[in-house]
Structure formats: C-alpha cells, structure tokens
C-alpha cells in the first residue's frame, strides 16, 4: 500500500517474462470494482495522481440525509461464494493444463524454507524429462526467477505488490505468457506464506508444502489450513539436522496429526539427499496426468 495515503496505486500486480524481459500489469481478481487508478500507459507511476482524494472539501454534500433506519431499503439476495470467480478461473486453468497433459504443482512454504533452491535442484535432476516451466510469485523483485532461468527453465515472474498470495487469474496470465509444452511439469512457486495461499485454488493438481528443519516441529499445528490442503509435505534442509535440536519424528507426527493423508519426504535441496524419491514422485504424477488426458 502507498505509505502516503494508503491507496493501492503503486501496488499493482506485475508480470515479467524473463525470456523477453517484457513486463505487463495484471488485474487481480476483485480489483475490477475499484475506482480509477488505471494506468493505461503501463507505467508504475510516482504519485502523479496527486492525492486529490485527500482534498475532499469537507462540506458534507452527502449531507447525512439518511438517519439510521430512515428511508426504505431494498434487500437483494446474492447467495454467492466469495471466491467463485477465482475458483472458476482455476477450473479453466486446470482444464487447459489437463488437455495439454501438463502437471501443475503449487509449491508453498514460509519464506526461506528453500522453495527456489529445491526448484533449481529439481530442474537439474529432471534434466528436461519432463520439461520444466515455472511461475514465480513474490511481492517484489525478480531475484528468484533469475535463479530459475539460470537453472535452465522458462519462467514468468509475478510480483504481487501488496498481495500475499497468487490467485488463479495471475496464474492464467502466467500460462498465457509461458505457454508450457505438452507433457511438461509446471511449478507454481507461491509467495512465501503459510496462511493466505491455502485459500486460493490456482488450478494446480496438487499443493506441495515445504517446511525446513530450521523451523519448528510444530509448524503443521500452527498452520493447519495449509498442511491440510497439502498432498505432499517435504521436510527440507535435512543436512542441517546434526546441528539442530529439531526432532524429525515429532515433525512427522505433527504432519500426520494435522493431515493423515499427506505423504511426507525428508530431503535436502542443497545436498540432494532424499531427492530421488521426490523426482520419482514428480515423474509418476506426470505419467498420471498424461493418462488422465487420454481420450
């Protein structure tokens, strides 16, 4: 949010295609009803909108002509799910991906759990079979997508500005930009956050939650929504275990307590320990995605 006036003018969601270097603005779902702040030229302006909404002249033209309870109100039924629009776009994404036999994995974790390092390593280990495409979500910077590009995968960076999660529309735009190949695996690296991304379906086939041994064993208990939404939980940075008091047994028990259906793997994205299991899991899921797509 703009520190001066609290407006959202400079918190637009931007997408950058690392291959072409082109940046475009994305309208997040729910932003259409807002007033003005349309930047037709696409520039991230420096407050040339002049804050004139600060100078409303306090003459109270709106006049308090309606006292509480006064005047007739008309009830309008809506009966709509708040996230219906996001979920509709997510379904379209899922159908688009399904038809192209693309496996989409939504990678979520707290900041610093090792999502990007895991992806760098995974891109190398997969060696192009299947091809990897990445949509990177961060509030700001293209640092992560630069790392992914260096690791050899086409990547689109989405900067959410004030936003704390990716939504289905951002992923739709990322797909349109990246055009992942038939039979590929698409990783969506969500904004580092164990709360908000749990609520927003992106059209992925599975959520994969990372949590590192440098965090607490009770992470699953503290963030049950996210862990309950996960199909696979990767406990990362296992190479640090000898240096920490972290109890792996307790962490695994906590995952099972919150989500008895989740599969767990203990890995180190840095040393590669445990990664063959993860790579096999991806390849098996890609195979399933291709099977499901058959006519």
């Amino acid at each position: 949010m703009c520190a001066t006036c609290g407006c959202e003018a400079n918190t637009a969601t931007m997408m950058t295609n690392l291959q072409t270097g082109a940046s475009t603005e994305i309208t997040a779902i729910g932003q259409e009803a807002r007033h003005e702040h349309v930047h037709a030229d696409g520039t991230r302006h420096a407050h040339e909108h002049g804050h004139d909404h600060h100078y409303h002249d306090h003459d109270h033209r709106h006049g308090h002509d309606r006292l509480p309870g006064e005047g007739r109100g008309l009830k309008v039924e809506i009966e709509a799910r708040v996230l219906a629009k996001n979920d509709a776009v997510a379904s379209r994404n899922r159908a688009w991906l399904g038809g192209r036999e693309i496996l989409a994995l939504n990678l979520v974790s707290a900041p610093g759990s090792g999502k990007t390092t895991l992806l760098e390593r995974t891109i190398a280990e997969l060696g192009g079979r299947p091809p990897v495409f990445v949509i990177e979500g961060d509030q700001a910077t293209a640092n992560d997508s630069a790392r992914i590009q260096k690791a050899g995968a086409p990547v689109a960076q989405i900067n959410t500005g004030a936003g704390c999660h990716l939504d289905a529309e951002m992923v739709r735009r990322g797909l349109a930009e990246l055009k992942p190949a038939v039979g590929a695996v698409l990783f969506i690296e969500n904004v580092g956050n164990l709360v908000c991304p749990a609520l927003f379906d992106l059209g992925e086939h599975a959520k994969v939650v990372l949590f590192s041994v440098a965090e607490g064993e009770d992470k699953p208990l503290k963030y049950p929504h996210m862990f309950q939404a996960a199909e696979l939980v990767l406990i990362n940075k296992s190479d640090l275990l000898p240096h920490l008091d972290f109890s792996l047994d307790e962490a695994l028990a906590n995952v099972a307590r919150v989500n008895p259906r989740a599969r767990t793997m203990t890995v180190s994205a840095r040393t590669g320990e445990g990664l063959p299991l993860w790579i096999d899991w991806i390849r098996e899921r890609v195979r399933q995605a291709q099977e499901v797509a058959l006519p």
């Binding site: 779902i29 729910g30 008309l74 309008v76 996230l83």
Partner: protein, 112 residues
C-alpha cells in the same frame, strides 16, 4: 492478510448486484473453519469498498458453526478447530460444515 483480497472479491460481487444503487448493508456467511477472520475482514472492507457503491456500507457477519465427521466411528460433532479430536480418539476427520465464505445478500437504497 488475505482478508484484503477477500474483501475486494466481496466488493466486486456486491457492486455487480447493486447495479449503481447505494449499498447500506452487506450480509456475509463465514464458516468457523474457513480460515477467514471476520475481524480482519471488517477492518479491510472499508478500504476495499472506498469509491464503490458499497462505500460506508455496514457489514453483517453470520458465523457458521464448524462440523466434523469422524472417519473412524462416523460420529458428527461441532468444532471450531481444525485440530479437533473425536471422542473415540481419532483425528481422521472430514469437514462437513464450516468452510463457508459467502455473500448472502445486500440492502440497497431504493432510488427516490
């Protein structure tokens, strides 16, 4: 702070239904297990509604009780916690109710 984004989604639904009429009241249903905080939403709503037909509208929140079904013994019971345990000792539970996040309706000013 996904509540700001949730609030923006609500305002969009409300503005479409209001069709240019001033909105006085917005009624929401929020389940106890939905992961959305009614307080945080009430805090964000005025910001999301600013400059729309829903500006200054009152927010009414109907809380929906969470209900879980035990996969082990089949019992259904009310709970506001995602970490509930059935009286039989099992924590293999399915959410039956409490995920709701709905805009129920609005009250608009009738044009004079």
């Amino acid at each position: 702070m996904h509540e700001l984004s949730i609030a923006s989604n609500i305002v969009e639904l409300v503005a479409a239904a209001a069709a240019g009429r001033k909105v006085r009241r917005v009624t929401l249903e929020i389940g106890q297990l939905s992961g959305v905080s009614a307080e945080a939403l009430a805090f964000c709503f005025p910001e999301a509604a600013r400059g729309t037909d829903a500006e200054n509208a009152d927010l009414d929140v109907v809380e929906i009780e969470g209900v879980a079904r035990c996969e082990a013994c089949g019992e259904e019971f009310a709970t506001a916690s995602l970490l509930a345990i059935c009286s039989c000792g099992s924590f293999r539970l399915q959410r039956v109710k409490g995920d709701e996040l709905n805009v129920k309706g609005i009250e608009v000013e009738e044009p004079a």
